[in-house]
Structure formats: structure tokens, C-alpha cells
């Protein structure tokens, strides 16, 4: 029996050791600006007057640094694939309990804002990046799947697809983002990686999206919650390449957002419709049809700063 237990113990130890090495490698492999975004919420390194929410179009399109010259502090909390439901959880469980209320919220509202396939991000999936205090507080909450929070917290259990395995032997692929230019939640999109995609400027995708009424309801609930917290909202639609104004006019999400914004007295800056600029026709400013590149984000942020100056007085 002793021999069996000893050998079984050694076997388990080897497995655990290998798992720890893999855990370390995966933890190091993924450059996670998300972690920095989450950390800012609890560490308050910057005085934030305006939070920026949205999807990857927002992460790579709006530079807080450029907007800061308005005399307010901006921070980009936009994350790829994040839906209204995700932000409801983010706001009520992380931001509101841990951060002073900002004056403004700039929400980059895309036409796929209510599409749950486009916006895939689940709150629990981000537990890897949560500060410890947030993670443990969330573990106690009945609103979240505890198992999911734990499994996503540990790189070994989070990246458990065989597709992740080659990353064990690779250096971090820096061809997608310009990490050196990360600032206040903004991360420029580097086109080297997307250049491989033949149809990256083909802006046809907006013909195929769905609207989830559940996401719409959560969106309205979150807007109301922020208003109740004294936060002024501003909706912005970031320029896209490859379509004409008339293509956007028929998008039902915009019709809804337009009417919702008017009803709630929320400014809506739509840079694909009424506020369309020359940026939308300049391929050089885009990494692909939906993401501004480094140069494009700078040009767009300058225009946004100008337009915000009349709103944020």
C-alpha cells in the first residue's frame, strides 16, 4: 500500500508540476491590457472624469490621451466583444463599488450592439484579470457561476483547448497590437496581422446581425442606472470603412439608438451617418473595415475632441 501511495503521489506531483509550468507559460504568453484596465478601477492611478465603453472598435479607436486636453481625465474601458449585459455586470459589480462616479460616459455604440454572436464576451471569462478583491467579492455573489469564475481565473484551466498548446512554445505575438503605445486603456491596432486577410476591407457584415431584446432591455437598464448615478452619457459611433451613408441609414440599431438618445436627452455622435467625415473614405486610416489603425485613431480622436468640447462644458 505504501509503495502504491508513494508512486501515486509522485505521479500526481509530476502532473501538478507540469500544470504549474503550463500555467506560468500561459500567464506570461497573453499580453492582457484588460488586466491593466481592471486594475485601474481599484488603483485609481488616474483621475477619471469620463469612462469610455464599447467594443474593440472603441478600444482601438479612441485615445484618452488626445481627449485629456479638454481638461478632463479620460480612460478607455472598451473591450472587444462586450455586450450591454457584460457592461451591466462590469458596472454594478466592479466599477461602481470600487471607483468614484465619473461625470461622463462615452459609449461607443456599434450597430451590432445587441447581437449576442458578435458580442460574445462573458463576464466570468474575465475573472483572470480581476483584481483579487473583486474576484473574491464576485465569488460570494450568487449572480455568477462560481465554477466559471474559478476556471477562468487560472490560465491552465482557462486556456485548455488544444489550439492554445502551440502558444506554450511561442513568444507573444506582438504583430496584432502595438503594446508600446498602450495608454489609459487604448491600444492601437497593428495591421501586420490583419494584412493577411484578403477581404478585410469588405464591409458587408452589417447586413447580417440580430437584435436581442434582452440585451436592449439591459442596455436601457444600465443607461438608467448611470443616469441615476449622475453620469451623463454620450453615444458615439466610430467611423467604419467601405460603406456609404445610405447603407447605415437602414440599420435598425441606429434608428433605435437615435430615438432612445433623443428621448433620454443623450447626445449621439454617429460618424457613419450625420457626422460622417473623410476618415470613412480613407483606407490608410484603417486596419480593416471596422478598426481604425494607429494613425486613424489619432485623427478620429482629434475630431471627437472637437465635437466633445461643445458637449462637455
Amino acid at each position: 500500500m505504501r509503495k502504491f501511495l508513494r508512486e501515486f503521489g509522485i505521479f500526481l506531483l509530476i502532473i501538478l508540476l507540469l500544470a504549474a509550468v503550463i500555467n506560468y507559460r500561459f500567464g506570461k504568453h497573453y499580453y492582457n491590457h484588460y488586466e491593466l484596465q481592471y486594475r485601474e478601477i481599484v488603483e485609481h492611478k488616474k483621475k477619471i472624469d469620463c469612462i469610455i465603453l464599447g467594443t474593440s472598435h472603441g478600444t482601438h479607436g479612441i485615445r484618452p490621451e488626445t481627449l485629456d486636453s479638454l481638461g478632463l481625465g479620460f480612460y478607455n474601458f472598451a473591450m472587444n466583444g462586450s455586450s450591454p449585459e457584460f457592461y451591466w455586470n462590469w458596472y454594478t459589480n466592479i466599477f461602481a463599488p470600487n471607483h468614484p462616479k465619473p461625470k461622463y460616459c462615452l459609449w461607443a455604440t456599434d450597430w451590432f450592439l445587441f447581437d449576442t454572436v458578435w458580442l460574445w464576451r462573458q463576464y466570468e471569462q474575465d475573472s483572470e484579470y480581476f483584481p483579487d478583491s473583486v474576484f473574491y467579492a464576485n465569488l460570494k455573489s450568487p449572480d455568477f457561476k462560481r465554477q466559471s469564475l474559478v476556471l477562468n481565473r487560472i490560465p491552465f484551466t482557462k486556456y485548455k483547448s488544444y489550439k492554445d498548446l502551440p502558444n506554450l512554445f511561442r513568444r507573444y505575438d506582438e504583430s496584432q497590437f502595438i503594446i508600446s503605445k498602450y495608454k489609459d486603456g487604448f491600444l492601437p491596432y497593428w495591421p501586420q496581422k490583419v494584412e493577411k486577410f484578403k477581404d478585410r476591407y469588405n464591409n458587408k457584415l452589417k447586413d447580417y446581425f440580430t437584435i436581442s431584446t434582452r440585451q436592449q432591455q439591459i442596455f436601457e437598464k444600465l443607461v438608467q442606472r448611470m443616469k441615476d448615478d449622475g453620469i451623463q452619457l454620450i453615444f458615439v459611433n466610430i467611423p467604419e470603412y467601405g460603406s456609404q451613408k445610405k447603407d447605415y441609414e437602414k440599420i435598425t440599431t441606429f434608428q433605435y439608438l437615435d430615438s432612445f438618445a433623443r428621448k433620454n436627452n443623450i447626445p449621439f455622435l454617429n460618424y457613419n451617418l450625420e457626422k460622417r467625415t473623410a476618415i470613412s473614405d480613407d483606407k490608410e486610416l484603417f486596419a480593416d473595415w471596422g478598426h481604425l489603425n494607429d494613425k486613424g485613431s489619432w485623427e478620429f480622436s482629434m475630431i471627437l475632441r472637437r465635437d466633445l468640447s461643445s458637449i462637455m462644458r
Binding site: 500500500m1 502504491f4 508512486e7 505521479f11 509530476i14 502532473i15 507540469l18 485548455k160 488544444y162
Partner: protein, 482 residues
């Protein structure tokens, strides 16, 4: 509590420690721990049916004693009948009541009557088919003077409720398991290592092979109307691997767990897809059920003795009952009938026992004749599985009809880059099983690799393969529903 769940991973070590360290060499204490842990294991599914299990155990315990005590053959028969009627009565009620009521209503409808049918929302108690058959075999064996009834209720209860086999077999015999329950057990290092290895292989079969195949099988069978002929063939092939990986994987984990507790269970699978004819397949597939039906149904009916009519009748009875045992659906009966049709020509031409040895023994490759035999048998089995997996017989026929279309030669739609790891694992699995077909299970490698370093590397690689390629979607074992 699934064998492939965190719950079992915590439960089993606790039982192991209590069994070997707390009870030590005290047989009574060991059996008591086994019984309590078995009841706990069962209660994790649904505690309400624990009472049914205990009642069923007591019924066979008591009727067994009564049969033995009775001097007259007729009294013995009456007690046997009481046991059989009540056992089958419970099984019939929980498993078949709605089926019979609905089938009756359908027949009535077809002749113009519209009876008010009264179906019930009955939850099928998990493992009922298995523990009922355990108990019945005990009573039959007492009636046939093969076994003396046990007075120790705990020992007998362990025989019926032993958790490694409680919910999906193997269907044990009193002659095999009871003496082990009653004998002192000593920890055996080599058996324990062997048990661990078999558990590892069972987990691979279940989590990597069966559960990954299940994803495609469900997708294809649930939407078979929209699939190409080639995709439907792939769906049937995947199901063949799913059910084998699932059930034999379960059996491997059961046998391995039991071996760690010093108890050997009956072998349930012996590389059935390498069979050269259907008769051989049935000697290698779900062996404990096949032998149960052979001993308690087929032989009492006269077996293959007597005239052609008797042989045909008995073959059909055993296969139809075997099909029906799986569930209250015509699809299982059709599956059983199909297997009877496959089997009959072999029986009638006295060739049903011509392939008793291991195929291509001592050789790496089979002969051309053996390869053809295996291919045909596998093809026939896969064809029959379509009935087993379909929701209705009409669906199965429609599924088969759609296979034979012009799209049969197209590239299967279900195959993508995501399927590649599963395909690689399936090929590896078949190769390993083929090379190890003379062993009790395919990971029995201690005789092949004398170096511990190599063996351990294989175990570690397999553990990580399970982790990275496995499907951890918590798919219940298919045979739990039977």
C-alpha cells in the same frame, strides 16, 4: 455522480481511505463502508429511489431464502414467481408503462377506436435494469441450486448495490461476486496499479472518444434531414465509436475502481469491433448482459437445441428482449430484430461458433478473409446502430434513405479543421486497441514497456491528451438511461 465528474474524484478517494485505512482488515467494516458509500452514491442521483433499491434488495434476499427453505418444487416455483413478477412489475411500471399505454392507443386508433389514454410522468430510476437483473440472477441461481442463499443482509446488499456497477453494470452474478464480498481482501499493489491504468483508459474512451463524437452525432442525428449522404454515414460511424467509447469506457472505470478495492468484476467488452461475424460480436459486446440472457432466457427456452423453428424462435426472443431491455421504444426492438436477422444465418448453418479465438492472433495484420469479415460485421453493426440512436423507427428509415442519395459521394459537411484532433484520436484509438486486442484492456502495457519511465510518460501524455482534447461538457453515460 458521474464517473467523469469532480464529485466522483472526491468521493472515490474518501471511500478508498475509509475502506483500506479505517476498516483495515475487518471484512465486516469494509462491507459496511461499501454499502453505505454505495447508497450515498445512488442517493446523489435521486435519494427517493434509494428506497426502491433497498426494497428490491430485500425482496430478492427474502425470496431467495424462501426458495431455499421450501421443500416442494411447486412452493419453490411460487416464490420464484413472486420475485420475478414483482421485479419485472417494477421494471415494467417505471420503464415500460407509458410505452405500452401509448402503443395500445396507437393500435386502437388504427382500427378506428379513440381510447382515452392515461400516461404518467414517470422518472426512470437510474440503474433499475441493472440492479433488477442482479437480484433476479441471484434468485434464479438459488432456484437452480447453483447458489446457497446468504443470511448476511449486508453482504447480499453489497452484491446488489456495489457502487462501481450499480448504475450501468457489468451485470454481476452471485457465483462470481458474492464469494469475493464474503472473503477477506488484501491490498494488492499490482492490481491497484492495473486498476488505475484501466480507469485512465476508461476516461480517455469516455471523455475524448465518446463525448467528442457525441457533439457531432447529436448535430447530425438531430438535423439529419439537412445533411448530405456522406455526413449521415459519418454520423452513424461516429455513433458507433461514441457508444463503444461511452459504455466500454464506463465499464473500464467501474472495473478499475473495483480492482482498487480488491474486487474483480466481470469483463464487459472484448474489442467487439474486431469481430469477424455477428456471433463473435455478441460474445464481445456487453458480455455480462449477453451471458445473462443466454443463461436465464435462451438456455431455459431450449437454446439452439431442437428444430429450425425452435432455433429461429429462441434467437428472435433473445434479441428482441435484449433490444427491449435497452428502452421502451420501437427503435430498440428494431435494433434487436435486425441483430437477430444478422445472427440467424450463422446459427442455422452452425457457423455461430467458428470464430472463438482472437483475430489474427500473433500477427500484426489480419488475413484478407479476416479483414473482410471484420469490415462486413462492423458495417452491419453500424447500420443497426442507426436504429438504436434514432428517435423513431420512421426517423431511422428516413435517415438510411437519405444516405443513399447523390450526396453520398460528396465531402462530409461535418468535417472541418475542428474535427481533425478527434479523427487523429480515433485512428490512434483503433490502432492501440488493435495492437492490444489480446489484453483485457488496451492500456495494459506493463508487459510491453519494461521501463517505468516510458510507461509513466505514456500515462502523463494520456492524462494531458484527455485534458486538452477531451470534451468536459458533462455528458451522462448513455447506458445510465437503460
Amino acid at each position: 455522480m458521474l464517473f467523469n465528474s469532480l464529485g466522483f474524484a472526491l468521493f472515490f478517494p474518501v471511500v478508498f481511505i475509509l475502506y483500506w485505512f479505517v476498516a483495515k482488515n475487518n471484512l465486516k467494516a469494509q462491507n459496511f463502508i461499501l454499502l453505505i458509500s454505495s447508497y450515498f452514491f445512488y442517493a446523489c442521483w435521486d435519494y427517493r429511489f434509494l428506497f426502491l433499491l433497498i426494497f428490491s434488495t430485500f425482496l430478492d434476499y427474502y425470496t431467495g431464502l424462501k426458495i431455499y427453505e421450501s421443500k416442494k418444487r411447486n412452493t419453490k416455483k411460487i416464490w420464484l414467481l413472486i420475485s420475478v413478477v414483482i421485479n419485472l412489475g417494477f421494471l415494467g411500471f417505471f420503464k415500460y408503462y407509458n410505452f405500452f399505454v401509448e402503443s395500445f392507443a396507437e393500435v386502437m386508433n388504427s382500427v378506428g377506436f379513440k381510447p382515452d389514454i392515461w400516461t404518467l410522468h414517470i422518472i426512470l430510476p437510474v440503474g433499475i435494469s441493472f440492479y433488477t437483473f442482479h437480484g433476479m440472477s441471484y434468485v434464479f441461481d438459488i432456484y437452480n441450486d447453483k447458489v446457497v442463499p446468504r443470511k448476511n443482509f449486508v453482504n447480499y446488499s453489497v452484491f446488489v448495490s456495489y457502487f462501481p456497477l450499480l448504475v450501468a453494470g457489468p451485470i454481476e452474478r452471485a457465483t462470481h461476486l458474492l464469494p469475493q464480498v464474503e472473503s477477506p481482501r488484501k491490498f494488492d499493489y499490482s492490481k491497484a496499479v492495473d486498476g488505475m491504468r484501466q480507469i485512465l483508459w476508461g476516461l480517455f474512451k469516455k471523455i475524448v472518444i465518446a463525448d467528442n463524437c457525441a457533439t457531432y452525432v447529436n448535430m447530425i442525428f438531430d438535423n439529419y434531414q439537412d445533411q448530405t449522404g456522406s455526413t449521415l454515414v459519418l454520423g452513424a460511424l461516429f455513433f458507433a465509436f461514441q457508444i463503444y467509447g461511452d459504455f466500454s469506457g464506463y465499464s473500464d472505470i467501474a472495473l478499475g475502481s473495483s480492482r482498487l478495492l480488491g474486487i474483480e468484476l466481470l469483463r464487459n467488452f472484448s474489442y467487439p469491433y474486431f469481430s469477424r461475424d455477428i456471433a463473435e460480436f455478441w460474445r464481445r459486446w456487453h458480455m455480462s448482459l449477453s451471458s445473462w440472457f443466454r443463461d436465464y432466457l435462451y438456455i431455459p427456452l431450449g437454446g439452439s437445441k431442437g428444430g429450425t423453428w425452435h432455433k429461429v424462435r429462441n434467437t428472435f426472443i433473445i434479441f428482441l428482449v435484449s433490444g427491449f431491455w435497452h428502452g421502451a421504444n420501437w427503435t430498440f426492438i428494431a435494433w434487436g430484430a435486425l441483430n437477430a436477422i444478422y445472427f440467424l444465418p450463422l446459427l442455422l448453418s452452425n457457423r455461430n461458433r467458428s470464430n472463438m479465438d482472437i483475430v489474427a492472433q500473433g500477427k500484426i495484420f489480419p488475413s484478407f478473409r479476416e479483414a473482410i469479415g471484420m469490415a462486413i460485421t462492423f458495417g452491419l453493426t453500424v447500420f443497426a446502430w442507426i436504429f438504436f440512436r434514432s428517435d423513431t423507427v420512421a426517423d431511422a428509415i428516413s435517415y438510411i434513405g437519405r444516405i443513399f442519395s447523390s450526396s453520398l459521394l460528396s465531402f462530409p459537411g461535418a468535417i472541418s479543421s475542428d474535427t481533425v484532433p478527434l479523427m487523429i484520436c480515433l485512428v490512434l484509438f483503433v490502432i492501440i486497441e488493435w495492437l492490444q486486442r489480446n489484453k483485457k484492456y488496451a492500456l495494459q502495457i506493463e508487459g510491453i514497456f519494461s521501463s517505468r519511465l516510458i510507461r509513466w510518460n505514456i500515462y502523463i501524455a494520456l492524462a494531458f491528451l484527455i485534458y486538452y482534447v477531451g470534451n468536459f461538457g458533462h455528458h451522462a453515460f448513455i447506458y445510465f438511461q437503460f
